[in-house]
Symmetry: C2
């Protein structure tokens, strides 16, 4: 698989009360297209990743809506898979190119969440959850707290290792002008923050966010050198049960493992070939699971590695993870997240990220999850053709 990424763009993530979803989409689409040297009328398909516009805004048909806003009559599709909507939109766009039917494709992920009360957003997000869990009154912090407790008991880690994920990602966020939170934090600050769902504290949780990200994907045969392309060499998705109660294990996400296995095979690489990764840290525990399910660490060992600084930008011995700040610090506008992850890795592989540039970054990975692991999508990107 060789799909050229020829343009990328992200908006600032955060509480963007004065900006409409249309304006966000237009902003990132124009910039990503400009990087590719394309006009809106040049694209031959348009994919939108979004989860909550229907539930929170009563608006659907986002493909056509944003196509009109951008100025294209290309076929347009909304792809939804909870918090993995953005990654799944990219996956489907790649299939569209590999099919031969589309050659120049725009993908936009977008979400507008902060116009609504946090309680409304929490309920809306449970639209990704299982019926039994919804009836039981569980929310996503509750679900991930069950995972965290099980993991901590099984692998004998403390809340410090979880907190270290938030500290690392806030440090990275402090170097990202688009991040929602640009304030470095300490382990003490995480441990002292209010409890949300024991053992997860406020600073273990990603925020509610607005934002949009865009990528332009181009068929290999049409990519020109001056577009400075980065290549997608693997793209795979998998599903698992919606509810935790149907899982064999709470300390692994089978969907992540399955998607990663396929993506590595497609790219012909191993986990230790990855230099930089954006993984789905909706809660700190989720990053630990991801680091292990993606094959970077053995089960139960990633917490110590994060605490020891192994995954921090440029002090990393092995791999730099969530240099954007991740969902935790960069923010988590759910439909945008999977697209933003690809934007970050493309910028890392281009090598122009300044203060948060990972040295010698040649191969990168993105990992986007929907629900509490009901769906996962993994992309592998490479500098070299």
């Amino acid at each position: 698989m060789k799909i050229g990424v020829t343009g990328v763009a992200s908006s600032k993530f955060g509480e963007l009360w004065s900006v409409s979803p249309r304006a966000l989409v237009k902003y990132v689409a124009e910039r990503a297209l400009a990087e590719s040297g394309l006009e809106p009328t040049d694209i031959d398909a348009f994919y939108v990743g979004n989860m909550l516009s229907g539930i929170l805004g009563g608006q659907e048909n986002l493909g056509s809506l944003f196509a009109e806003e951008i100025g294209t009559t290309a076929p347009a599709f909304k792809i939804e898979g909870a918090c993995a909507s953005g990654g799944l939109a990219i996956h489907n766009a790649i299939l569209g190119i590999l099919s031969g039917q589309y050659k120049k494709v725009l993908v936009v992920g977008v979400e507008k969440m902060t116009d609504h009360k946090p309680e409304e957003v929490t309920v809306a997000l449970m639209g990704a959850g299982s019926e039994a869990e919804r009836i039981a009154g569980l929310t996503f912090p509750g679900l991930y707290s069950l995972i965290a407790r099980e993991y901590m008991d099984k692998y004998k880690i403390s809340e410090k290792e979880l907190a270290a994920v938030a500290v690392k990602n806030h440090y990275h966020g402090s170097l990202n002008p688009n991040a929602q939170f640009q304030n470095p934090i300490t382990i003490e600050k995480v441990l002292e923050s209010p409890c949300v769902a024991d053992p997860l504290k406020l600073l273990d949780c990603s925020p509610i966010s607005d934002g949009a990200s865009a990528v332009v994907l181009t068929a290999e045969s049409l990519v020109s050198k001056k577009q400075n392309p980065i290549w997608i060499t693997g793209s795979a998705a998998a599903t698992d049960s919606l509810g935790l109660y149907n899982r064999k294990s709470l300390t692994s996400l089978a969907a992540t493992q399955a998607a990663a296995k396929t993506a590595y095979q497609q790219a012909g690489i191993q986990p230790n070939d990855i230099d930089v990764a954006e993984v789905h840290d909706c809660f700190t525990i989720a990053e630990l699971l991801a680091l292990e399910d993606l094959g970077f660490y053995k089960k139960g060992t990633s917490g110590k590695a994060v605490l020891g600084g192994e995954l921090t930008l440029n002090s990393s011995k092995k791999i730099a993870v969530n240099t954007s700040g991740g969902l935790k610090a960069c923010g988590h506008p759910v439909g945008a997240t999977g697209v933003k992850q690809v934007v970050e890795i493309v910028e890392q592989l281009r090598g122009n990220l300044g203060k948060r540039q990972v040295k010698n970054a040649n191969v990168g990975l993105t990992h986007n999850v929907g629900g509490s692991g009901a769906v996962a999508v993994v992309h592998i990107l490479s500098q070299e053709h």
Copy 2:
């Protein structure tokens, strides 16, 4: 393009108050898979077409939800494009197969609408509409009444020609045991029915419906003769402005014309090669536009043709249209409609439809629209390889 359709199934359409969306999906998925000789674990991708589950039910992540219900961990995606969601799900599934990444794919379209008050559904459906039209208080009957009035003025037809579409489709519905309305009606009855949005009367409008449909698509190389395949030879989509006020013409849908042009080219055929078609008759006027935009009739002439019986099953001189009963009589569970259209054409091309079998049906077409023409998707199917 040669994609094998190896299994199809539809539920009854109508007011299915005692059946859940899960049960509907399981019912059609099991039957379509059984026709293909496949188990749920044999499929390698799963596409769901649905529009309103988020707005009306607060439930998203339908790919994972229904994957769990069916019993597969294959990658699963929800594709949304208003009332074209089902057709767009099939289109994306086809791209998935053409990409080479997926070989045996299940597509389900599903919608559950009658659990809600009609007023709520009307508002929810405007989730496919433009902001300006929503603010102005327009609903879809209102939008299509503007189109109907403009068409009637331009081409000097009366309400009789519109009514003839409903009469034809109710006659077809009377032969379809899955149709929501199986009662034949007369032109007088349509003209006497209550006005919804002048000139459209109650019997010019498709109903609010529940239902699900499924198709199994198989890569050409894996299709066996005993699967009795029908072939998809064209699949194309296009978009247009969301609102009517941005259109050059109200009496044509540019998205239909663009999608049809591409699909005919892919299949290497002309409109007059089509023997049987399912077109998007959400309102009677919509069928007249479709008949002309798809190239079956010259602009302004299709109303007389319908009135003269040219498109009625087996009295047709040219082409039989909406033998399922169409959206008007078979029902319009929006996310299911585009899939049901393909189910109907596959069954027609197989030649076993009994009373509503079109004689010598070799080539068929489906036409699915979202919004008031903001998106259209056209499929061409053929008996012969």
